[in-house]
Amino acid sequence: MKRMNMKRVSAGDHLTNLLFYVLLGVFVVLCFYPIWYVLVASISDPTYVNSGALITLPRGVHFTAYKYAFDQPQLWIGYGNTLCYTFFGTLFGLCVCIPCGYALSRQDLPFRGIIMGILVFTMYFSGGLIPTYVVINTLNLVNTRILLIILGSVSVYNIVLIRTFCQSSIPEELREAASIDGCSNTRFFFSIVLPLSKAILAVIALYIAVHHWNSYYNALVYTTDTRLQPLQLYLRQLLLINTGAEDLGDPDALKEMQQMIASIRYAVIVLSSLPIMCLYPFLQKYFVQGVMIGSIKS
């Protein structure tokens, strides 16, 4: 009796497992196919792309779309700008947030609660777009690279993340022992805290970098100079604003371009997303770690 029962249950479990495999498979395909399609379409023959054929593997491989894309000077300007904003923005963000997060993690610091409160309040209330614009205008930072580097690099959320990390992974006793040996706060920070915080350093750097790579809002609001435009604004121009371009009927010269435009769009999407998409699988554990640390807080 008992054995039969066990057997029946396990047959049912097999069915459940199968169901789960299928369901998860559906989720995976749903997530993967739209991205895969872009990659495949970008190197496929434009005739297939324009006919809307469902492509699972590249067809009639050629790289003309990439050649067109490479010939766009604005793409390279955007790429260069985004690289610049991402690199220096991340550097700036790290230099500002890491020390602050550590200092606020110190239980023995007078007024840390008040300082924390002042910072956290900005997560829930802001002055709004125009007052911020007015301030930035007053500082003469509209249409400058500096602004696009620093704006958005410092986030209170990241500071809280660092603070949580330091509180849980840098033992109080360690600092006490070090201070008895005459180690100053600065020295302790540089030679003990930083080496122990490599994980959080990576997490924060990745968060800031991805934010910079993908954001367009600040550039949209605070720049009018196309030489300062990041990649995402160029993409906006190409992918969203010129959506009607296929219908603009100016023969011959435009005809080839028209043929190509869908493929060019796919190629540019691939080019712009390539760095993150390629690096992400290797850095996945850091991103996940960031979410975990963030969840401790709440």
């Binding site: 029962n5 049912g12 459940t16 497992n17 495999y21 998860l24 989720f27 995976v28 997530c31 993967f32 739209p34 991205i35 399609y37 809307g52 469902l54 492509i55 602050c100 200092a103 610091l109 007078p110 007024f111 300082i115 900005t122 829930y124 209330f125 802001s126 002055g127 709004g128 777009l129 125009i130 007052p131 614009y133 007015v134 007053t138 620093i150 410092v154 100053s184 706060n185 920070f189 991805v210 790579w213 993908n214 367009y216 993409l235 906006r236 190409l238 992918l239 969203l240 959506t243 869908a262 769009r265 999407i269 712009s272 992400y280 699988p281 996945q284 996940v288 979410v291 969840s295 709440s298």
Partner: protein
């Protein structure tokens, strides 16, 4: 006796502050940043009550009281904007909440470790796509002539329409593309909660003859209930702070009637039409509602379940 204790205490505090002056120096850059880019604009919020122009500056412009608020509350836009914002937010909240939980439960229950790892990597991937690229991808895939979605629709015997260009589809596309993009990423936190469930519970249930499905419903689901409630609070708290980026990217002349929300209105009025004070008034209204929402939701949930953010 009492005052001298107090004084001693104060002296100790000052002593500690001086000893730790380096720590204050470490806080200073971030503090200055927040002061300049967050608190200064908060001080500048007063332009919502003034007739602001750049020549006179924040405090020099003429005081007009509630003029811009009255103007906004009585304009035709008001109800449409608030309605569009609320509907889009609520829809997003309701649709985006259960899917990551479902995904996490399934991932956790799949026996093959390898398949689980691969599916994690792939379902997190869309999170890293930028808004512009996402909307560009949708424009292409829903294109009537060349989009692969249209091809599928045709193959199933339907007639494809350009989904991105019709107002009635806007909300669905906005919300479900968001679900697509974030479901994997948002499932991380539930997966973490699932792995912290005591395996002994599962073993005991198995001995009692509970099937896999039964165990998921009776053990896993209750196990992640606290996480679920916190995530729900977080979502409710930000109900009016609908992101600008994606709505603005998806907006076109054809879906304007449902896609114009507070944040896009604030941008257009402030930056494009240079109605600074009016725009500042609308965003102040939005921020105040937001803040009240967050505090209220947090207080209620703190009373009900003991889960609160502060």
């Amino acid at each position: 006796m009492q005052p001298s204790v107090k004084r001693k205490h104060r002296q100790q505090t000052i002593r500690r502050m001086i000893d730790n002056r380096a720590l204050y120096l470490m806080i200073l850059p971030a503090f200055l940043y927040i002061l300049i880019f967050h608190y200064w604009p908060m001080y500048g919020v007063q332009i919502a009550f003034r007739n602001f122009n750049f020549a006179d500056g924040i405090t020099g412009s003429k005081w007009v009281g509630m003029k811009w608020f009255n103007y906004f509350f009585h304009s035709n836009n008001f109800s449409t904007l608030v309605r569009n914002t609320l509907i889009l937010s609520f829809y997003d909240l309701l649709a985006g909440f259960p899917v990551p939980i479902l995904l996490a439960l399934i991932m956790n229950a799949v026996p093959s470790r390898r398949f689980r790892k691969v599916s994690q990597t792939i379902t997190y991937l869309p999170h890293f796509i930028s808004v512009i690229v996402l909307v560009g991808m949708m424009n292409s895939m829903f294109s009537v002539n060349s989009g692969w979605v249209s091809t599928i629709v045709r193959a199933l015997g339907g007639t494809p329409t350009y989904i991105m260009g019709e107002a009635k589809y806007f909300r669905h596309v906005y919300v479900w593309s968001g679900v697509w993009q974030q479901m994997g990423w948002n499932s991380i936190i539930y997966l973490a909660a699932l792995t912290s469930i005591d395996p002994g519970l599962h073993e005991a249930a198995m001995i009692d003859g509970a099937g896999k499905l039964r165990r998921i419903i009776s053990i896993d689901l209750p196990g992640i209930l606290p996480t679920m409630s916190i995530m729900l609070i977080l979502r409710f708290g930000s109900i009016m702070s609908l992101g600008f980026d994606k709505v603005y990217s998806m907006q076109n002349a054809l879906n304007y009637s449902v896609s114009e929300v507070l944040s896009t209105h604030i941008y257009k009025m402030g930056i494009q039409s240079t109605k600074y004070s009016y725009s500042a008034a609308v965003s102040l209204f939005n921020n105040v509602i937001n803040f009240i929402m967050l505090v209220t939701v947090n207080r209620i949930s703190g009373k009900l379940s003991g889960n609160s953010l502060w």
